[in-house]
Protein backbone atom coordinates (compact mmCIF):
# COMPACT_ATOMS: atom_id res chain seq x y z
CA UNK A 1 0.00 0.00 0.00
CA UNK A 2 2.67 2.40 1.07
CA UNK A 3 4.76 1.51 -1.97
CA UNK A 4 1.92 2.34 -4.34
CA UNK A 5 1.40 5.65 -2.55
CA UNK A 6 5.02 6.59 -2.91
CA UNK A 7 4.93 5.76 -6.57
CA UNK A 8 1.76 7.74 -7.15
CA UNK A 9 2.79 10.83 -5.27
CA UNK A 10 5.24 12.28 -7.83
CA UNK A 11 2.82 11.59 -10.67
CA UNK A 12 -0.04 13.31 -8.88
CA UNK A 13 2.16 16.29 -8.13
CA UNK A 14 3.37 16.52 -11.71
CA UNK A 15 -0.17 16.34 -12.97
CA UNK A 16 -1.25 19.16 -10.69
CA UNK A 17 1.65 21.32 -11.79
CA UNK A 18 0.99 20.55 -15.46
CA UNK A 19 -2.65 21.53 -15.06
CA UNK A 20 -1.58 24.76 -13.40
CA UNK A 21 0.87 25.62 -16.21
CA UNK A 22 -0.90 27.95 -18.67
CA UNK A 23 0.82 26.85 -21.89
CA UNK A 24 0.62 23.15 -20.99
CA UNK A 25 -3.08 23.57 -20.25
CA UNK A 26 -3.77 25.36 -23.53
CA UNK A 27 -1.65 22.88 -25.49
CA UNK A 28 -3.32 19.89 -23.84
CA UNK A 29 -6.76 21.30 -24.58
CA UNK A 30 -5.88 21.90 -28.24
CA UNK A 31 -4.43 18.38 -28.58
CA UNK A 32 -7.58 16.90 -27.06
CA UNK A 33 -9.80 18.90 -29.45
CA UNK A 34 -7.69 17.84 -32.41
CA UNK A 35 -7.86 14.16 -31.46
CA UNK A 36 -11.61 14.47 -30.99
CA UNK A 37 -11.98 16.13 -34.40
CA UNK A 38 -9.87 13.44 -36.07
CA UNK A 39 -11.72 10.54 -34.46
CA UNK A 40 -15.32 11.75 -34.46
CA UNK A 41 -15.76 14.10 -37.44
CA UNK A 42 -15.39 11.46 -40.20
CA UNK A 43 -17.97 9.29 -38.40
CA UNK A 44 -20.53 12.11 -38.17
CA UNK A 45 -19.96 13.39 -41.69
CA UNK A 46 -22.48 12.23 -44.29
CA UNK A 47 -19.76 12.34 -46.98
CA UNK A 48 -16.98 10.02 -48.05
CA UNK A 49 -13.59 11.76 -47.96
CA UNK A 50 -12.67 10.62 -51.47
CA UNK A 51 -16.05 10.86 -53.17
CA UNK A 52 -17.09 13.81 -55.34
CA UNK A 53 -20.48 15.42 -54.78
CA UNK A 54 -21.74 16.68 -58.14
CA UNK A 55 -25.18 17.53 -56.75
CA UNK A 56 -24.51 20.07 -53.98
CA UNK A 57 -20.74 20.55 -54.30
CA UNK A 58 -20.52 22.56 -57.53
CA UNK A 59 -19.77 26.26 -57.35
CA UNK A 60 -20.62 28.80 -60.08
CA UNK A 61 -18.99 27.86 -63.36
CA UNK A 62 -17.92 24.45 -62.03
CA UNK A 63 -15.40 26.00 -59.65
CA UNK A 64 -14.97 24.47 -56.18
CA UNK A 65 -18.19 24.90 -54.21
CA UNK A 66 -18.22 27.68 -51.58
CA UNK A 67 -19.16 26.97 -47.95
CA UNK A 68 -22.85 26.13 -47.68
CA UNK A 69 -25.30 24.22 -45.48
CA UNK A 70 -24.55 21.05 -47.42
CA UNK A 71 -20.77 21.53 -47.30
CA UNK A 72 -19.81 23.61 -44.26
CA UNK A 73 -16.30 24.38 -45.52
CA UNK A 74 -17.04 24.07 -49.22
CA UNK A 75 -15.66 21.49 -51.64
CA UNK A 76 -12.27 21.08 -53.32
CA UNK A 77 -11.39 21.16 -57.02
CA UNK A 78 -13.05 17.82 -57.69
CA UNK A 79 -16.00 18.58 -55.40
CA UNK A 80 -15.06 16.49 -52.37
CA UNK A 81 -16.26 17.70 -48.96
CA UNK A 82 -13.49 19.84 -47.50
CA UNK A 83 -14.42 19.37 -43.83
CA UNK A 84 -14.41 15.57 -44.11
CA UNK A 85 -11.06 15.69 -45.88
CA UNK A 86 -9.64 17.99 -43.20
CA UNK A 87 -10.68 15.47 -40.55
CA UNK A 88 -9.11 12.60 -42.49
CA UNK A 89 -6.01 14.78 -42.85
CA UNK A 90 -6.01 15.21 -39.08
CA UNK A 91 -6.06 11.42 -38.71
CA UNK A 92 -3.09 11.11 -41.04
CA UNK A 93 -1.14 13.93 -39.36
CA UNK A 94 -1.74 12.56 -35.87
CA UNK A 95 -0.96 8.99 -36.94
CA UNK A 96 2.29 9.95 -38.65
CA UNK A 97 3.23 12.59 -36.07
CA UNK A 98 2.66 10.51 -32.96
CA UNK A 99 3.89 7.26 -34.52
CA UNK A 100 7.09 8.75 -35.92
CA UNK A 101 7.78 10.58 -32.68
CA UNK A 102 7.30 7.36 -30.69
CA UNK A 103 9.67 5.49 -32.99
CA UNK A 104 12.25 8.28 -32.89
CA UNK A 105 12.03 8.51 -29.08
CA UNK A 106 12.42 4.74 -28.74
CA UNK A 107 15.47 4.63 -31.00
CA UNK A 108 17.00 7.88 -29.74
CA UNK A 109 16.33 6.95 -26.12
CA UNK A 110 17.94 3.52 -26.44
CA UNK A 111 20.99 4.83 -28.31
CA UNK A 112 21.34 7.85 -26.01
CA UNK A 113 21.15 5.81 -22.79
CA UNK A 114 23.58 3.15 -23.99
CA UNK A 115 26.04 5.68 -25.43
CA UNK A 116 25.85 7.86 -22.33
CA UNK A 117 26.26 4.96 -19.91
CA UNK A 118 29.28 3.62 -21.80
CA UNK A 119 30.76 7.07 -22.35
CA UNK A 120 34.31 6.99 -23.66
CA UNK A 121 34.19 3.37 -24.80
CA UNK A 122 34.10 2.03 -28.35
CA UNK A 123 30.32 1.55 -28.13
CA UNK A 124 29.83 5.26 -27.43
CA UNK A 125 32.26 6.25 -30.20
CA UNK A 126 30.55 4.06 -32.81
CA UNK A 127 27.04 5.18 -31.85
CA UNK A 128 27.94 8.86 -31.83
CA UNK A 129 29.75 8.61 -35.19
CA UNK A 130 26.55 7.08 -36.50
CA UNK A 131 24.62 10.08 -35.19
CA UNK A 132 27.18 12.40 -36.84
CA UNK A 133 26.68 10.69 -40.20
CA UNK A 134 22.94 10.95 -39.82
CA UNK A 135 23.01 14.60 -38.85
CA UNK A 136 25.16 15.60 -41.83
CA UNK A 137 22.87 13.71 -44.17
CA UNK A 138 20.21 15.94 -45.74
CA UNK A 139 17.22 14.27 -44.11
CA UNK A 140 14.58 15.62 -46.47
CA UNK A 141 16.54 14.25 -49.44
CA UNK A 142 16.96 10.89 -47.73
CA UNK A 143 13.26 10.58 -47.03
CA UNK A 144 12.36 11.68 -50.55
CA UNK A 145 14.92 9.37 -52.15
CA UNK A 146 13.72 6.32 -50.25
CA UNK A 147 10.15 7.35 -51.01
CA UNK A 148 11.03 7.50 -54.71
CA UNK A 149 12.85 4.15 -54.54
CA UNK A 150 9.78 2.47 -53.11
CA UNK A 151 7.11 2.19 -55.75
CA UNK A 152 4.24 2.92 -53.42
CA UNK A 153 4.47 5.10 -50.33
CA UNK A 154 1.80 4.88 -47.64
CA UNK A 155 1.18 6.59 -44.33
CA UNK A 156 3.13 3.79 -42.67
CA UNK A 157 6.23 4.22 -44.85
CA UNK A 158 6.20 7.98 -44.23
CA UNK A 159 5.91 7.27 -40.50
CA UNK A 160 8.80 4.77 -40.57
CA UNK A 161 11.00 7.06 -42.67
CA UNK A 162 10.43 10.09 -40.46
CA UNK A 163 10.91 8.04 -37.30
CA UNK A 164 14.05 6.34 -38.58
CA UNK A 165 15.63 9.67 -39.55
CA UNK A 166 14.38 11.77 -36.62
CA UNK A 167 15.95 10.01 -33.62
CA UNK A 168 19.39 11.64 -33.90
CA UNK A 169 18.66 14.79 -31.95
CA UNK A 170 16.90 12.82 -29.22
CA UNK A 171 19.91 10.51 -28.93
CA UNK A 172 22.25 13.44 -28.28
CA UNK A 173 19.94 14.99 -25.72
CA UNK A 174 19.36 11.71 -23.86
CA UNK A 175 23.07 10.93 -23.91
CA UNK A 176 23.83 14.25 -22.22
CA UNK A 177 21.15 13.60 -19.61
CA UNK A 178 22.43 10.05 -19.02
CA UNK A 179 25.91 11.42 -18.36
CA UNK A 180 24.45 13.53 -15.53
CA UNK A 181 22.53 10.59 -14.10
CA UNK A 182 25.47 8.22 -14.32
CA UNK A 183 27.65 10.52 -12.25
CA UNK A 184 25.27 10.23 -9.28
CA UNK A 185 25.89 8.04 -6.25
CA UNK A 186 22.95 5.68 -6.56
CA UNK A 187 24.36 4.35 -9.83
CA UNK A 188 27.67 3.62 -8.16
CA UNK A 189 25.74 2.00 -5.30
CA UNK A 190 23.75 -0.16 -7.72
CA UNK A 191 26.97 -1.24 -9.37
CA UNK A 192 28.60 -1.98 -6.04
CA UNK A 193 25.60 -4.16 -5.11
CA UNK A 194 26.37 -6.24 -8.19
CA UNK A 195 23.35 -5.41 -10.32
CA UNK A 196 23.69 -6.37 -13.97
CA UNK A 197 24.16 -3.59 -16.53
CA UNK A 198 20.79 -4.10 -18.28
CA UNK A 199 19.09 -3.96 -14.91
CA UNK A 200 20.88 -0.74 -13.94
CA UNK A 201 19.95 0.83 -17.29
CA UNK A 202 16.33 -0.28 -17.03
CA UNK A 203 15.59 0.31 -13.36
CA UNK A 204 17.88 3.19 -12.47
CA UNK A 205 18.92 5.16 -15.55
CA UNK A 206 15.72 4.99 -17.61
CA UNK A 207 13.37 6.34 -14.89
CA UNK A 208 15.70 9.28 -14.40
CA UNK A 209 15.85 10.25 -18.07
CA UNK A 210 12.14 9.53 -18.55
CA UNK A 211 11.13 13.16 -18.04
CA UNK A 212 13.53 14.21 -20.82
CA UNK A 213 12.07 11.53 -23.07
CA UNK A 214 8.50 12.65 -22.38
CA UNK A 215 8.91 16.29 -23.33
CA UNK A 216 11.25 15.63 -26.29
CA UNK A 217 8.69 13.16 -27.62
CA UNK A 218 5.90 15.73 -27.32
CA UNK A 219 7.95 18.40 -29.09
CA UNK A 220 8.95 15.83 -31.73
CA UNK A 221 5.28 15.19 -32.56
CA UNK A 222 5.06 18.81 -33.73
CA UNK A 223 8.24 18.46 -35.80
CA UNK A 224 7.10 15.20 -37.41
CA UNK A 225 3.68 16.63 -38.14
CA UNK A 226 5.28 19.61 -39.87
CA UNK A 227 7.68 17.34 -41.76
CA UNK A 228 4.77 15.24 -43.00
CA UNK A 229 2.98 18.34 -44.28
CA UNK A 230 6.16 19.55 -46.03
CA UNK A 231 6.63 16.16 -47.71
CA UNK A 232 3.02 16.13 -48.85
CA UNK A 233 3.30 19.71 -50.06
CA UNK A 234 6.32 18.75 -52.17
CA UNK A 235 4.44 15.75 -53.54
CA UNK A 236 6.69 13.23 -51.79
CA UNK A 237 4.32 12.19 -49.01
CA UNK A 238 1.31 9.93 -48.93
CA UNK A 239 0.02 9.75 -52.52
CA UNK A 240 -3.48 10.90 -53.52
CA UNK A 241 -6.36 10.37 -53.08
CA UNK A 242 -5.50 10.19 -49.37
CA UNK A 243 -6.28 13.48 -47.64
CA UNK A 244 -3.23 15.27 -46.24
CA UNK A 245 -3.05 18.90 -45.13
CA UNK A 246 0.16 19.58 -47.03
CA UNK A 247 -1.24 18.13 -50.24
CA UNK A 248 -4.54 19.99 -49.77
CA UNK A 249 -2.59 23.25 -49.49
CA UNK A 250 -0.63 22.44 -52.62
CA UNK A 251 -3.77 21.66 -54.57
CA UNK A 252 -5.64 24.62 -53.13
CA UNK A 253 -3.04 27.26 -53.94
CA UNK A 254 -4.17 27.47 -57.56
CA UNK A 255 -7.61 28.53 -56.31
CA UNK A 256 -6.38 31.17 -53.86
CA UNK A 257 -8.70 33.76 -55.40
CA UNK A 258 -11.68 31.65 -56.47
CA UNK A 259 -11.76 29.46 -53.37
CA UNK A 260 -9.66 30.83 -50.50
CA UNK A 261 -11.41 28.45 -48.06
CA UNK A 262 -9.39 25.63 -49.60
CA UNK A 263 -6.24 27.26 -48.20
CA UNK A 264 -7.61 28.61 -44.93
CA UNK A 265 -8.69 25.23 -43.50
CA UNK A 266 -5.52 23.17 -43.91
CA UNK A 267 -3.29 26.18 -43.13
CA UNK A 268 -5.07 26.86 -39.82
CA UNK A 269 -5.05 23.19 -38.87
CA UNK A 270 -1.34 22.61 -39.60
CA UNK A 271 -0.35 25.62 -37.53
CA UNK A 272 -2.83 24.79 -34.77
CA UNK A 273 -1.70 21.17 -34.53
CA UNK A 274 2.01 22.06 -34.41
CA UNK A 275 1.26 24.84 -31.94
CA UNK A 276 -0.71 22.47 -29.69
CA UNK A 277 2.15 19.98 -29.36
CA UNK A 278 4.74 22.75 -29.03
CA UNK A 279 2.80 24.39 -26.19
CA UNK A 280 2.22 21.07 -24.44
CA UNK A 281 5.87 20.09 -24.86
CA UNK A 282 7.20 23.43 -23.62
CA UNK A 283 4.91 23.27 -20.63
CA UNK A 284 6.11 19.75 -19.85
CA UNK A 285 9.71 20.88 -20.09
CA UNK A 286 9.07 23.70 -17.62
CA UNK A 287 7.40 21.34 -15.17
CA UNK A 288 9.58 18.24 -15.57
CA UNK A 289 12.98 19.79 -16.16
CA UNK A 290 13.11 23.10 -14.30
Amino acid sequence: MQRAGMLLLPYARTRTRLLAHPSARLGGLLVALLVLFALVAPLLSPYEANASDFVHGLGPGDTPGPPSWAHWLGTDRIFRDQLTRLAMGARLSLFVGIGASALATLLGGAVGIVAGYFEGTAIDAVLMRLVDVGLSFPFLLLVMAVGAALDETSALTVLLLLGASGWLGTARLVRAKTLQVRAQEFIAAARALGLSTPRILWRHVLPNVASTLVFTATLAVAQMLLAESVLSYLGAGVPPPAASWGRMLFEGQDFYQAAPWLLAGPACLVVLAALAFHLLGEGMRDVLDP
Binding site: S136, L140, L141, A145, A149, D151, Y233, L234, V271, H278
Partner: protein, 337 residues
Protein backbone atom coordinates in the same frame (compact mmCIF):
# COMPACT_ATOMS: atom_id res chain seq x y z
CA UNK B 1 44.89 21.43 -30.38
CA UNK B 2 46.37 20.49 -33.77
CA UNK B 3 45.79 16.85 -32.86
CA UNK B 4 42.16 17.60 -32.07
CA UNK B 5 41.63 19.29 -35.43
CA UNK B 6 43.34 16.47 -37.32
CA UNK B 7 41.16 13.95 -35.54
CA UNK B 8 38.04 15.97 -36.41
CA UNK B 9 39.16 16.16 -40.03
CA UNK B 10 39.60 12.40 -40.13
CA UNK B 11 36.15 11.76 -38.74
CA UNK B 12 34.71 14.31 -41.20
CA UNK B 13 36.17 12.30 -44.10
CA UNK B 14 34.75 9.13 -42.57
CA UNK B 15 31.32 10.75 -42.38
CA UNK B 16 31.53 11.84 -46.02
CA UNK B 17 32.50 8.33 -47.10
CA UNK B 18 29.55 6.87 -45.20
CA UNK B 19 27.19 9.38 -46.82
CA UNK B 20 28.58 8.59 -50.28
CA UNK B 21 28.09 4.86 -49.74
CA UNK B 22 24.59 5.22 -48.36
CA UNK B 23 23.53 7.51 -51.21
CA UNK B 24 25.08 5.22 -53.80
CA UNK B 25 22.96 2.32 -52.57
CA UNK B 26 19.79 4.44 -52.40
CA UNK B 27 20.36 5.90 -55.87
CA UNK B 28 20.83 2.36 -57.15
CA UNK B 29 17.49 1.32 -55.71
CA UNK B 30 15.65 4.01 -57.69
CA UNK B 31 13.52 2.32 -60.33
CA UNK B 32 15.14 3.89 -63.38
CA UNK B 33 17.18 2.86 -66.39
CA UNK B 34 19.97 5.38 -67.08
CA UNK B 35 20.68 3.88 -70.49
CA UNK B 36 17.07 4.37 -71.53
CA UNK B 37 17.20 7.95 -70.21
CA UNK B 38 20.25 8.74 -72.35
CA UNK B 39 18.95 7.00 -75.45
CA UNK B 40 15.47 8.49 -75.25
CA UNK B 41 12.05 6.82 -75.24
CA UNK B 42 12.01 5.91 -78.95
CA UNK B 43 15.45 4.27 -79.15
CA UNK B 44 15.75 0.63 -80.20
CA UNK B 45 16.42 -2.01 -77.54
CA UNK B 46 19.78 -2.89 -79.10
CA UNK B 47 20.96 0.72 -78.87
CA UNK B 48 19.86 0.95 -75.26
CA UNK B 49 21.80 -2.25 -74.49
CA UNK B 50 24.88 -0.85 -76.20
CA UNK B 51 24.72 2.36 -74.16
CA UNK B 52 24.17 0.32 -71.03
CA UNK B 53 27.41 -1.56 -71.70
CA UNK B 54 29.18 1.70 -72.56
CA UNK B 55 28.37 3.43 -69.29
CA UNK B 56 28.91 0.21 -67.34
CA UNK B 57 25.38 0.05 -65.95
CA UNK B 58 25.26 -3.71 -66.64
CA UNK B 59 28.02 -4.47 -64.15
CA UNK B 60 27.33 -5.61 -60.58
CA UNK B 61 26.71 -3.03 -57.85
CA UNK B 62 30.02 -3.70 -56.06
CA UNK B 63 32.06 -3.10 -59.24
CA UNK B 64 30.23 0.14 -60.02
CA UNK B 65 30.67 1.27 -56.41
CA UNK B 66 34.41 0.60 -56.61
CA UNK B 67 34.69 2.52 -59.87
CA UNK B 68 32.64 5.40 -58.46
CA UNK B 69 34.88 5.77 -55.43
CA UNK B 70 38.04 5.50 -57.52
CA UNK B 71 36.81 8.18 -59.90
CA UNK B 72 35.41 10.42 -57.17
CA UNK B 73 38.78 11.85 -56.21
CA UNK B 74 41.79 10.90 -58.29
CA UNK B 75 45.21 12.35 -58.94
CA UNK B 76 46.40 12.95 -62.49
CA UNK B 77 49.38 14.83 -63.82
CA UNK B 78 48.06 17.69 -66.00
CA UNK B 79 50.25 16.52 -68.91
CA UNK B 80 49.00 12.95 -68.62
CA UNK B 81 45.40 14.16 -68.45
CA UNK B 82 45.84 16.12 -71.67
CA UNK B 83 47.49 13.16 -73.38
CA UNK B 84 44.92 10.64 -72.18
CA UNK B 85 41.70 9.97 -73.96
CA UNK B 86 39.68 13.19 -73.69
CA UNK B 87 36.43 11.51 -72.66
CA UNK B 88 38.08 9.99 -69.60
CA UNK B 89 38.40 13.31 -67.80
CA UNK B 90 35.46 15.08 -69.42
CA UNK B 91 33.39 15.09 -66.22
CA UNK B 92 36.18 16.16 -63.89
CA UNK B 93 36.67 19.37 -61.99
CA UNK B 94 40.41 19.74 -61.61
CA UNK B 95 42.23 21.43 -58.76
CA UNK B 96 45.79 21.13 -60.07
CA UNK B 97 46.55 17.42 -60.31
CA UNK B 98 43.59 16.60 -58.06
CA UNK B 99 40.48 15.65 -60.00
CA UNK B 100 36.95 15.51 -58.66
CA UNK B 101 34.60 13.41 -60.76
CA UNK B 102 30.92 13.16 -59.82
CA UNK B 103 29.85 11.65 -63.13
CA UNK B 104 27.51 12.86 -65.83
CA UNK B 105 23.92 14.00 -65.29
CA UNK B 106 21.46 12.15 -67.55
CA UNK B 107 18.81 14.83 -67.55
CA UNK B 108 20.97 17.97 -67.66
CA UNK B 109 23.41 16.34 -70.13
CA UNK B 110 26.33 18.05 -68.42
CA UNK B 111 28.98 16.96 -65.92
CA UNK B 112 27.51 16.98 -62.41
CA UNK B 113 30.36 19.18 -61.17
CA UNK B 114 29.48 21.79 -63.80
CA UNK B 115 25.81 21.75 -62.81
CA UNK B 116 26.71 22.12 -59.13
CA UNK B 117 29.20 24.90 -59.85
CA UNK B 118 26.38 26.81 -61.55
CA UNK B 119 23.94 26.30 -58.71
CA UNK B 120 26.04 26.50 -55.56
CA UNK B 121 26.73 30.28 -55.62
CA UNK B 122 23.00 31.00 -55.81
CA UNK B 123 22.27 28.78 -52.82
CA UNK B 124 25.13 30.48 -50.99
CA UNK B 125 23.61 33.89 -51.75
CA UNK B 126 20.24 32.77 -50.41
CA UNK B 127 21.88 31.24 -47.33
CA UNK B 128 23.75 34.45 -46.50
CA UNK B 129 20.60 36.51 -47.02
CA UNK B 130 18.54 34.21 -44.82
CA UNK B 131 21.08 34.10 -42.00
CA UNK B 132 21.38 37.90 -42.07
CA UNK B 133 17.63 38.26 -41.54
CA UNK B 134 17.63 35.55 -38.88
CA UNK B 135 20.47 37.16 -36.93
CA UNK B 136 19.08 40.67 -37.13
CA UNK B 137 15.52 39.82 -36.13
CA UNK B 138 16.54 37.07 -33.68
CA UNK B 139 19.15 39.10 -31.81
CA UNK B 140 16.92 42.16 -31.60
CA UNK B 141 13.89 40.22 -30.35
CA UNK B 142 16.01 38.23 -27.90
CA UNK B 143 17.58 41.37 -26.47
CA UNK B 144 14.24 43.16 -26.14
CA UNK B 145 12.72 40.14 -24.39
CA UNK B 146 15.64 39.69 -22.02
CA UNK B 147 15.71 43.37 -21.07
CA UNK B 148 12.64 42.98 -18.88
CA UNK B 149 11.88 39.29 -18.26
CA UNK B 150 8.21 38.48 -17.61
CA UNK B 151 7.13 41.87 -19.01
CA UNK B 152 4.51 41.99 -21.75
CA UNK B 153 7.28 42.44 -24.31
CA UNK B 154 8.97 39.26 -23.10
CA UNK B 155 5.73 37.29 -23.07
CA UNK B 156 4.84 38.49 -26.57
CA UNK B 157 8.27 37.47 -27.85
CA UNK B 158 7.97 34.00 -26.33
CA UNK B 159 4.49 33.58 -27.77
CA UNK B 160 5.76 34.75 -31.17
CA UNK B 161 8.64 32.26 -31.10
CA UNK B 162 6.32 29.34 -30.30
CA UNK B 163 3.96 30.37 -33.09
CA UNK B 164 6.91 31.02 -35.42
CA UNK B 165 8.27 27.52 -35.02
CA UNK B 166 4.81 26.04 -35.57
CA UNK B 167 4.28 27.48 -39.05
CA UNK B 168 5.78 25.39 -41.87
CA UNK B 169 8.14 27.39 -44.12
CA UNK B 170 6.04 26.96 -47.23
CA UNK B 171 3.10 28.58 -45.46
CA UNK B 172 5.19 31.61 -44.46
CA UNK B 173 6.46 31.77 -48.03
CA UNK B 174 3.00 31.57 -49.57
CA UNK B 175 1.71 34.31 -47.26
CA UNK B 176 4.60 36.65 -48.03
CA UNK B 177 4.34 35.89 -51.73
CA UNK B 178 0.64 36.73 -51.66
CA UNK B 179 0.94 39.87 -49.55
CA UNK B 180 4.14 41.48 -50.87
CA UNK B 181 4.24 40.06 -54.36
CA UNK B 182 0.67 39.65 -55.45
CA UNK B 183 -1.33 42.25 -53.54
CA UNK B 184 1.19 45.05 -53.08
CA UNK B 185 3.27 44.39 -56.24
CA UNK B 186 6.38 45.32 -54.27
CA UNK B 187 8.49 42.30 -55.19
CA UNK B 188 8.65 39.70 -57.94
CA UNK B 189 6.62 36.56 -57.13
CA UNK B 190 9.46 34.17 -57.79
CA UNK B 191 12.42 33.45 -60.06
CA UNK B 192 15.99 34.67 -60.08
CA UNK B 193 16.05 37.55 -62.55
CA UNK B 194 18.71 38.36 -65.15
CA UNK B 195 20.76 41.30 -63.85
CA UNK B 196 22.48 41.69 -60.50
CA UNK B 197 19.82 44.16 -59.38
CA UNK B 198 17.04 41.71 -60.24
CA UNK B 199 18.90 38.96 -58.37
CA UNK B 200 18.92 41.09 -55.22
CA UNK B 201 15.24 42.02 -55.49
CA UNK B 202 14.31 38.38 -56.11
CA UNK B 203 16.37 37.37 -53.11
CA UNK B 204 14.24 39.34 -50.63
CA UNK B 205 11.18 37.07 -50.49
CA UNK B 206 12.93 33.70 -50.09
CA UNK B 207 15.48 35.17 -47.66
CA UNK B 208 12.69 36.74 -45.62
CA UNK B 209 10.79 33.44 -45.54
CA UNK B 210 13.77 31.46 -44.27
CA UNK B 211 14.69 34.38 -42.03
CA UNK B 212 11.35 34.55 -40.22
CA UNK B 213 11.30 30.79 -39.72
CA UNK B 214 14.79 30.75 -38.22
CA UNK B 215 14.53 34.04 -36.29
CA UNK B 216 12.03 32.48 -33.88
CA UNK B 217 14.64 29.94 -32.91
CA UNK B 218 17.39 32.54 -32.50
CA UNK B 219 15.21 34.85 -30.43
CA UNK B 220 14.45 32.07 -27.96
CA UNK B 221 18.09 30.98 -27.82
CA UNK B 222 19.36 34.54 -27.26
CA UNK B 223 16.73 35.31 -24.62
CA UNK B 224 17.26 32.13 -22.56
CA UNK B 225 21.03 32.43 -22.79
CA UNK B 226 21.07 36.12 -21.88
CA UNK B 227 18.88 35.51 -18.85
CA UNK B 228 21.13 32.65 -17.74
CA UNK B 229 24.18 34.89 -18.15
CA UNK B 230 22.50 37.72 -16.20
CA UNK B 231 22.28 35.43 -13.16
CA UNK B 232 26.02 34.82 -13.14
CA UNK B 233 28.49 36.32 -10.70
CA UNK B 234 30.37 38.53 -13.13
CA UNK B 235 27.15 40.28 -14.13
CA UNK B 236 26.13 40.73 -10.49
CA UNK B 237 29.56 42.26 -9.82
CA UNK B 238 29.14 44.66 -12.72
CA UNK B 239 25.70 45.61 -11.43
CA UNK B 240 27.09 46.14 -7.93
CA UNK B 241 29.72 48.45 -9.34
CA UNK B 242 26.96 50.61 -10.73
CA UNK B 243 26.54 49.48 -14.34
CA UNK B 244 23.00 49.82 -15.65
CA UNK B 245 20.98 46.77 -16.64
CA UNK B 246 21.20 47.78 -20.29
CA UNK B 247 24.98 48.08 -20.09
CA UNK B 248 25.45 44.71 -18.38
CA UNK B 249 23.13 43.16 -20.93
CA UNK B 250 24.95 44.56 -23.96
CA UNK B 251 28.48 44.68 -22.63
CA UNK B 252 28.78 41.64 -20.36
CA UNK B 253 26.03 39.12 -21.00
CA UNK B 254 25.76 39.42 -24.78
CA UNK B 255 29.40 38.39 -25.20
CA UNK B 256 28.89 34.98 -23.64
CA UNK B 257 25.71 34.53 -25.64
CA UNK B 258 27.51 35.06 -28.93
CA UNK B 259 29.27 31.69 -28.66
CA UNK B 260 26.14 29.52 -28.92
CA UNK B 261 24.63 31.94 -31.43
CA UNK B 262 27.65 31.70 -33.72
CA UNK B 263 27.54 27.92 -33.39
CA UNK B 264 23.99 27.86 -34.69
CA UNK B 265 24.84 30.38 -37.42
CA UNK B 266 27.65 28.14 -38.64
CA UNK B 267 25.53 25.00 -38.71
CA UNK B 268 22.58 26.81 -40.26
CA UNK B 269 24.72 28.34 -42.98
CA UNK B 270 26.14 24.93 -43.84
CA UNK B 271 22.72 23.36 -44.05
CA UNK B 272 21.31 26.20 -46.16
CA UNK B 273 24.15 26.25 -48.69
CA UNK B 274 23.33 22.61 -49.29
CA UNK B 275 19.95 23.78 -50.44
CA UNK B 276 16.78 25.04 -48.81
CA UNK B 277 14.62 22.49 -50.62
CA UNK B 278 11.19 23.85 -49.78
CA UNK B 279 11.84 27.57 -50.16
CA UNK B 280 13.90 27.20 -53.33
CA UNK B 281 11.15 25.10 -54.88
CA UNK B 282 8.41 27.50 -53.81
CA UNK B 283 10.16 30.61 -55.14
CA UNK B 284 11.71 28.86 -58.17
CA UNK B 285 15.13 29.88 -56.88
CA UNK B 286 17.55 27.98 -59.13
CA UNK B 287 19.82 26.69 -56.36
CA UNK B 288 20.82 23.25 -55.18
CA UNK B 289 17.65 22.62 -53.18
CA UNK B 290 15.32 23.08 -56.13
CA UNK B 291 17.63 20.89 -58.18
CA UNK B 292 17.44 18.17 -55.52
CA UNK B 293 13.70 17.88 -55.94
CA UNK B 294 13.81 17.71 -59.74
CA UNK B 295 16.72 15.26 -59.77
CA UNK B 296 14.79 12.99 -57.41
CA UNK B 297 11.63 13.18 -59.48
CA UNK B 298 13.70 12.44 -62.62
CA UNK B 299 15.59 9.59 -60.88
CA UNK B 300 18.87 11.12 -62.07
CA UNK B 301 21.26 8.97 -59.99
CA UNK B 302 24.59 10.78 -60.50
CA UNK B 303 22.98 14.16 -59.84
CA UNK B 304 21.29 12.91 -56.65
CA UNK B 305 24.63 11.55 -55.47
CA UNK B 306 26.40 14.79 -56.30
CA UNK B 307 23.84 16.90 -54.46
CA UNK B 308 23.77 14.78 -51.30
CA UNK B 309 27.56 14.73 -51.21
CA UNK B 310 27.75 18.51 -51.66
CA UNK B 311 25.13 19.11 -48.99
CA UNK B 312 26.80 16.77 -46.53
CA UNK B 313 30.20 18.28 -47.27
CA UNK B 314 28.80 21.74 -46.51
CA UNK B 315 27.35 20.56 -43.19
CA UNK B 316 30.51 18.68 -42.23
CA UNK B 317 32.70 21.65 -43.13
CA UNK B 318 30.59 24.13 -41.19
CA UNK B 319 30.81 21.72 -38.23
CA UNK B 320 34.59 21.85 -38.50
CA UNK B 321 34.64 25.65 -38.74
CA UNK B 322 32.33 25.95 -35.73
CA UNK B 323 34.63 23.64 -33.79
CA UNK B 324 37.65 25.76 -34.66
CA UNK B 325 35.71 28.92 -33.79
CA UNK B 326 34.87 27.58 -30.35
CA UNK B 327 38.54 27.37 -29.60
CA UNK B 328 39.10 30.92 -30.80
CA UNK B 329 36.13 32.43 -28.98
CA UNK B 330 36.24 30.59 -25.69
CA UNK B 331 39.69 30.49 -24.05
CA UNK B 332 38.56 27.72 -21.71
CA UNK B 333 38.37 25.33 -24.67
CA UNK B 334 42.07 25.79 -25.35
CA UNK B 335 43.04 24.54 -21.94
CA UNK B 336 40.59 21.65 -22.10
CA UNK B 337 42.10 20.17 -25.25
Amino acid sequence: MIRRLVRRLGSALLVLWAVATLTFVIADLLPSDPARMIAGPTARAADVARIRAQIGADRPLAVRYGLYLRHLVHVTEPAAAAAANKTEHADCASFGPLHLDLGHSYTQRKPVVAVLADRAPRSLLLAVGAVTVQLFVGLLAGLLAAFRPRSWLDRTTIAATVVGTSVPTYLIGLTLQYALGHRLHLLPLDGFGRTDGEHLVSLILPALTLGIFGAAYYARLVRDDLLAAMRQDFVRTARAKGASRLRTLLHHALRTTLVPVLTVVGLELGALVGGAVVVETLFRWPGIGALAVSSLLDHDGPLILGITLTTSACIVMSNLVVDAMYVLLDPRMRRAS
